[in-house]
Symmetry: D2
Subunit: 235 residues, 4 copies
């Protein structure tokens, strides 16, 4: 998995703070922006996050390059509808040399790994043979979920909050959870105030919303402070 | 592929016509509804379609049961974002006896078919063996795009117009195109006036919007009048 | 204010329960629907609400006729974007005899009421006079926020949950709050299980999300049990 | 009316071209970006616009400051739902010294202008008097549509294409049409290739979609080439 932050709205703190302030101010936009430079903007953002005033977060967007992820993941990812995607097509791109993603549980079991590798390599051969008879868009019906894909994905900060709440959660599958933690790291670096409260739902002010489907072991702040990476990947 | 219209907003013509009329009328809603019964409602809908006044179409929704389609199709389908989906999960449902979808181009070639069947059956065995070692959500990484899935999908009539414009098109892949034509048939029966102008883009008043990517062989009205099924599936 | 439930997806409980069940079942849709009749469907819906599994709620939509509300309200209402609206146009409908909405705080103060009525009647005359010189779309620039409008609005149950959480809240303005409570009453009658957990945010399992902007006096369940109407309108 | 482009996704051409290319390429994202510098990126964008391949346009967003527009306009503007808004609140901001917008048809008629100014000034006094008795959120019920408001609005390029198609049209009301032309000018300067085909629907490859509601006098390219401003405002 290779995740990069390709681009984003410049100075995200500044525009979010100004948009939030506009709702309650008689001043014009230029004056509001001048007044909210630096610390004051950060304080305004912290306040609006504490009040659940989420709509100003929509004014800033983040565009990610996502490569080396499975089609199992991409099928989950594109279910987030307040977002924009461009994905490598299996109809138009021939995939003879496809990369694939090996689940850790499989990589950790010699027997499972052997089964998995044999299956994937058999599929690669079947796919290549089928291309002699049918178009790529049909041959791809034998390609497995493990097959790697590439996407460019753009989400605004409010939609990212929702994405992180659901996908940084221990209940999310390991692959999209790893992606979510990678994306969270990238946006926290680019816009630390805007994403000051972002992360798994259990870390939010209101806590886990999953009821009896809760994992029962919420992330702890201290656990996270130790490093920039997802806790479950440490050991 | 088994597609059924599970439910829809009752009397779709009536609500679309009344909503459209409301915009231009001083009368109250009950009066408007009374005035637009029968033929007058149909005439109002025909008029708003001719004017490109699409927003009243959003007031009526259609819910489909879709079964026996491939995960290749479902990955395309859920890219339509103004829509709601519930899909059978490969994380939580064990798929040992999965159905699969065979592309017609493969079914029509004895060599391709033999390759395809061997590959799918090998995957079925690999999947079953992996289940002894890892959770279903990981074993599924060997499942192919051909693997069948089930969904419940709900779209309003305006979003369906867009779906049909794109997916009834000869440029769409055969499987989602067959789904689109099946869905079109079902909604035309349930709401003939509301969907009076629905279908592939080439059949719309403005014609194909694909420029040099056009297929070059637009559907003809006469071709469609001959039957209720997709023209390309006739021969 | 006159609010009616014009139409909605038939048997909402049935379709929501079936869609939710599909995600975790190997059975086909017809079998799932048969198994979830009556009590079992209600239990399934109660469970998915307790788990925060909201997406199946999107499959059912509710269409309201809303009349005699102010343009102040309609400007707030249409900010809910996961929804469909048709609104009476002030460009195309002449409003000489416009109804208007009087805020209770104004109605309760003889001095304010006198000021308000004089202002509204002066505007009515100014509007009528302007129509002799300019089109209705320009004359309407003198029409006040109090001027009544009509809409047809359609929202799915998930979007309604969000609408009720925000607009049944005591922090919402009195007019849209009254609308929200009226709509809540209507959908609770039509689909009691689907809306079993709907209402102001303070009544949800997670409680108020407004932080220091909280009103400090959350609704109590017992307060609501006494009647079908909004508590704040009782006295 | 004062419209400024507050910020936007940097190098919009570059990200749109790369996202479009990704769909059809086996190369990785960094390589694609390198290959599409300068002229090649512009050519790629021209091509995707000619093919109606609109989704890559969603990856770039534009944020506008909009001031001195009427509440009649803002009520129309926020009906565009694939967009994000922060608007000055009439509940929380006292408007004693409100600016107002005078329709040109009124400004051009001495009698209408006199009526209009008298009405607006009477309302200003009524509003100020009401504030002595009731909260601002209630006093505002006498404020007219002409009352000026401020917004921050963010739209992606695809949604802007739709906005321009509808609102640069001669059928749109003069005020939002002037806003649309101002916004079009700003984004054409910032991203000339991305907005190479943007504008009123009659200027698009497919032409006006309004049927018999067409204005009958489509804009001509030559008319536009003469200046950067809206043709109808020239004379």
């Amino acid at each position: 998995m290779r995740v990069t932050l390709l681009t984003h709205t410049p100075e995200p703190d500044k525009i979010v703070a100004a948009a939030a302030r506009l709702c309650y101010s008689g001043a014009d936009i230029a004056t509001i922006q001048t007044r909210l430079s630096g610390e004051k903007g950060a304080a305004m953002i912290a306040k609006l996050l504490s009040l659940g005033h989420e709509s100003p977060l929509e004014h800033v967007s983040f565009t990610f390059g996502i490569e080396g992820v499975s089609r199992a993941l991409s099928h989950q990812l594109v279910r987030h509808r307040i977002a924009s995607y461009s994905q490598q097509s299996q109809r138009y791109v021939r995939m003879e040399d496809f990369e694939y993603v090996t689940p850790p549980a499989i990589a950790d079991s010699p027997e499972a790994k052997a089964l998995f590798l044999a299956a994937v390599e058999a599929l690669r051969r079947a796919y290549a043979s089928l291309l002699a008879h049918v178009p790529a868009e049909d041959a791809r019906y034998v390609l497995p979920n493990a097959c790697a894909t590439k996407l460019v994905a753009t989400l605004n900060a409010r939609s990212l909050y929702n994405f992180f709440a659901l996908r940084c959660c221990r209940r999310a599958q390991w692959e999209i959870r790893a992606l979510a933690w990678d994306m969270l790291r990238l946006v926290k670096t680019a816009a630390p105030h805007v994403f000051g409260q972002a992360g798994a739902d259990c870390l939010s002010a209101r806590g886990c919303g999953k009821g009896e489907m809760s994992c029962g072991t919420p992330y702890s702040k201290s656990e996270l402070d130790g490093g920039q990476h997802e806790p479950s990947r440490r050991s």
